[in-house]
């Protein structure tokens, strides 16, 4: 057991977006244990929410996570409406579904770019983010901003989608479909990527249930749960779509689930655009009665859950937020342990932990608790493993 040099990594590190801090305890090549230290980004949102009125909370809640920045207001609006059962006009339901699905596309494309980066395909990163610009443009047309759209309002939607936007949106969807086909080719048919992603970081069905994992992470292990179908909110029961599940629960099936979900999202968006009736978009509720409200919806990473307790005034007594990654994080104990460290990065990225905080891994030697390899080495390991597999498979340099 050669002695290793201790590599202290402060939470601030290049290419690191979110300073979470992972510590993998390693015995030789395989990971023995994983510990994560979060809290560098904790902003005390629940305490702030108690001093704000319901309208202001929607804007506060929108800034919880930068990538799925419409799933939180969507749940919060449903929770507040759940207290008094305020009704919402039909057109608003369609617009809400539309924005949620666009958000899913935006988030999955972003994840695809990152996974490509971890596996050494820099061009996949650039291309995925190039096509993500189409989604951002559609968002700018509909809501006026690339992220943080401020679209949801208690009782309806804040902005309407005029008819002259329709052709632009439909055209955007067609180019996106072409892009998704190309990415489907890149992920599913590429032998090296397949060999690289298959069979690692397997989350068994029992573990998925035991950890109550959510979203694509659990659906890829055969747990057939999707809040959009189990408790249809907005317009999900008026639109035809189906839930995508895979069975073997490894990183490859997580990628497959996400890509096929992109097809579903595009078809949902198209149906919403066609079926959208004319009519009001906001029921302008008068008052929120005393009581409690619970709501949960299917965000790109899993189920988001909000709990509101109100006392009749226009600001809540208690506002509980639970993001999907909060439940998906601990599944690392089940998926990463036993894998080689070169695969650790891609497994951690597979649950798409709210942007690439997996950069923050340091590997700790099991015996003398010394850190061995930095986060970047892990990425290099995973990238070179792709290269080695590629050479073995096709006998020529990775092109």
């Amino acid at each position: 057991m050669s002695r290793k040099v201790v590599i202290p990594i402060g939470p601030y590190h290049t290419l690191q977006e979110e300073p979470e801090y992972y510590q993998l305890t390693v015995d030789g090549e395989t990971v023995v244990d994983i510990d994560v230290r979060i809290g560098y980004v904790h902003r005390g949102i629940e305490k702030l929410a108690e001093a704000k009125s319901y309208d202001k909370i929607l804007f506060l809640v929108e800034r919880i996570c930068g990538i799925c920045s419409t799933s939180h207001p969507m749940v919060s609006v449903l929770a507040i409406e759940d207290i008094g059962g305020t009704e919402v006009p039909e057109r608003a339901h369609y617009i809400r579904t539309l924005v949620c699905e666009l958000e899913r596309l935006h988030s999955h494309l972003l994840w695809l770019g990152l996974a490509g980066h971890f596996l050494g395909y820099k061009t996949v990163w650039m291309w995925a983010w190039k096509y993500r610009e189409i989604v951002c443009d559609t968002f700018e047309i509909i809501t006026g901003n690339r992220q943080n759209y401020g679209m949801m309002k208690v009782g309806g939607v804040r902005r309407d989608i005029e008819d002259e936007y329709m052709p632009a949106l439909l055209k955007g969807m067609d180019d996106l479909l072409k892009a998704v086909d190309m990415f489907k080719g890149v992920v599913l048919d590429d032998p090296v990527l397949g060999a690289r992603l298959r069979g690692i970081g397997v989350l068994s069905r029992e573990d998925a249930i035991q950890y109550s994992a959510l979203g694509p992470t659990s659906r890829s292990s055969g747990v057939d749960k999707d809040v959009r179908r189990d408790e249809p909110y907005a317009a999900y029961d008026w639109v035809k779509w189906d839930v995508i599940t895979q069975t073997d629960g490894d990183v490859f099936s997580k990628a497959v689930v996400r890509i096929l979900e992109m097809y579903e999202s595009v078809s949902i968006i198209r149906q919403c655009l066609q079926k959208m009736p004319k009519g009001p978009i906001d029921s302008n509720p008068k008052e929120i009665p005393i009581g409690e409200g619970i709501a949960h919806t299917e965000a790109p990473r899993g189920e988001v859950f909000h709990y509101v307790k109100s006392d009749g005034t226009n600001s809540p007594v208690r506002y509980k937020v639970r993001a999907p990654t909060f439940m998906n994080f601990p599944t690392f104990k089940a998926t990463v342990v036993g894998e080689t460290i070169s695969d650790a990065t891609i497994i951690l990225a597979a649950i798409d932990p709210c942007y690439c905080c997996t950069e923050r891994i340091t590997v700790v030697d099991a015996y003398d608790k010394k850190k061995i390899i930095t986060g970047e080495d892990l990425i290099k390991m995973s990238q070179e493993k792709t290269k080695k597999l590629h050479k073995k498979m096709t006998g020529r340099e990775l092109k």
């Binding site: 601030y12 290049t14 560098y40 980004v41 005390g44 930068g66 610009e133 690339r146």
Partner: protein, 141 residues
Amino acid sequence: MSIRLKALLKSPWVFHLCSGSCNNCDIEILDCLTPRYDIERFGMVLVGSARHADVLLCTGIVNKQGVSRIKRVYHQTPKPCLVVAVGNCSCSQERFRGSYSAAKPLDQVIPVDVYIPGCPPKPEAIIMGVVKLIEKVKNTK
């Protein structure tokens, strides 16, 4: 305006510093690297170490854990070093002011040269901010 300062303005190396951000601004900063808003044509490169950096792009409210770390990184960057506060959160802790885990706004922790408002500021706005930074340095020295 010494030749060295002119050179600094032609090739500002950028280091990204995130503390308590909802990673919207971080994505927008990385968007600047992608093909559509490429900032390498202005000579800006996302650099790995604070030692090599000229411009510190700070995002997010400085939460209580982040204060000491940000000070340390700021002292490590070789002067002349410029600080850009990207997004409303780092300009003024806009929405999270008064939260128990929000320490001080960025400009009370390290001296800030340019503020880029917006939540998140569009990549064009970030590039505009850096252009303003260049003009500011040009006029002062």
